[in-house]
Amino acid sequence: MTSTVDTARSAGTPPPAARPGVRRRARRSLSDLATPYLMLGPAVLVMLALLCWPAVQVLFISFRKLDLGELVRGEVKWVGFDNYKNVLTDPDFWVISLRTAVFTVVLVASTLLIGLGIAVLMRHLAGWVRVVLQVCLVLAWATPIVATTTIFQWMFDQNYGILNKTLVKLGFDSYQGYSWFSTGTSTLTVIGILIVWQAVPFIAFTLYAGLIGTPKDLYEAAAIDGANGWSAFRAVSWPSVRPLLMLTTFLSVLWDFRAFTQVWAIRQGGPDGKSTTLPVLLYLKGIAGSHFGVSAAVAVLMLVILVAVTWRYVRLLVRSPETEL
């Protein structure tokens, strides 16, 4: 990893020129000192009250027995590490964690590869084709998940789905009545396609913005130097999309790891629980089973996994000279 980790310069403002010496340290008045805190105030307040405080409560709840009865009566029953013991001694938890990890990795990798591919493609397309492509991407992105899960179930339907009907028409007779949801892997693949399909537009737009931020003369210079497509990409585009790629990887990991709506809506984690991921487990234990303490323990473990996985990157962001001034 390098130290050029400026992030989210999303829509194409060019990388700032290096300004090594611009560190003014003028005398500051009291109001100058207070300014940053006042400006951060609203954001800090909302995030503390509505994200951090609930999260802290989840941590507390994970050490309590909190079923429907306790919740309704407002009882507080501390049970120490019982909920964690309950979760961690269940062999299913480890299988589900592993499955979630693999699922996330595959999803993030495919989303980024396809997104980067489309971003590069957009750069090379003629104007009207690019607009057509962009509108199509937006349509996919902006369609509500409730709707897209329904339409995917419909397209992959065993008998009435357009996919099987088309495959049969093309001569693949074995797809007559083929069930896409009979195994966990196949179910997760369909869910994965759904998630990737809706996640790619955001990634593609962000990376495209980074790409067009690259000054054109750099490409021309590269062309003069005899660089062909691939080496021009590596020499010119890569440095400008790299930080964006790292940021989008980070965000994709967070989003895909926590993907719940699509996984639940397609098959509720079935068949035989073989497409259950950690968020589904959390829901099954919590709302479905009314064991909110156990569910909170799962949530805390999920957070621990996420922080562990992304820790290097987060530390880099917090410490790197780029996030310094």
């Binding site: 405080w53 919740l71 407002g74 339907d157 009979s182 035989d272």
Partner: protein, 433 residues
Amino acid sequence: MRVWSKALIGGVAVALTVAGCAGSGSSSSSSGTTTAPPAGPRTITVWLMNGSAPTTLTDELNKEFQDSHKDVTVKYEIQQWNGIQDKLTTALASNNPPDVIEIGNTQAPKFASDGVLEDVTANVNDFNGANWLASLKASGQWDGKQYAVPFYAANREILYRKDLFEQAGITAPPTSRQEWLDAIGKLKAKFGSDPNFQALYLPGQNWYTLLSFIYDEGGDIAKQDGKKFTGSLETPEVKAALDFYKQLVDVSGTKAPKDADEQTPEQAGIFGQGKVAMMVALPWEVATAAKSDPTIKDKTSGFPIPSKTAGQTAPVFQGGSDLAIPGNSKNKDLAREYLKLITSDKYQAQFAKAGMIPGTSKDVSALQADPVNAAMAKASPNGKSTPATPGWATIEAGQNPIKDMLTAYLTGAKTFEQATKDADDALNKAFSS
């Protein structure tokens, strides 16, 4: 870093005071003691589900209740099934929960066992207790006490096309499993040349139908021992039931998906296409089918699921709803009176007229007028519910091992032994959690 963590802790402390004692629970008024009803105008909140009681019934009911209770307003709110578990959970924990709620009979044991519903054991007689439907009564009981009151129920029957039966030379609806299979044979002989024809539409995960077969064989999905339930699928009875289900699927050549239930795609819609002679369904699915083809209504009739004993009807799974009073309700006195009114013969009769089996009345004569409803009513005395254990709610919320077992067995992905063992394990896990 250290400075920061101090700041964060400080911030959390502030948020703590702002949020007050969040998480420490609801108001202290949840003790359940009945205090004197407050004077002045009052409001009673009633939550019924989408598609349950007909509007004509509720309009009249709410009007009568308001007329007989001066200064009381009925706030009647229809809830959607989608996400109801989340909504009920939080509403019960709120400061002003609804006063009367409708809960599915398969959900009821969980709410009853968690002690969040008002004990109505003492009021059973006020609520027409002598006439309660057995399966619903059982679903509202926990530990010998009654927490929920039967509302209405329905059970599946076989809807069939009279015209197609006639053309195939079937004179009377089947009354035994053999006659049922024979009818399928005759229909196929007559219409089999049409590739889109299906003598019977039976998706692989119509587990309600399987339950009926299992009950008919004398089995059940779980054994009860006190409060403890254990899955009982690894039995010869279940084997016989599964085999008959498979036989139906094979013989009928149904094109229904093996990996989905009767809702995806909606079977009534397919019945409405006119190429299906029979389906296992609820009476009102005729109306859904008629949306595709209005003439289908007059061509359709129904007969009860035949038993393996000729001449009898098979026992059926009874789905339905209970009514209950949340333990935190502030208007329990009014809620009891509301329940008294809604469980009276007058309103229960309207359920029968609307094509449902009333929960607190034995009078099903209104169902006889329509042959489709009559077929349901005929099987209804032999109705059963799912195991009355709180663990069933987890299964109901999504992952149903019996559906997975059906698909695995029908597609040959698992042997009988393996499929039932996996399902039993999953059931036991749900029961014990």
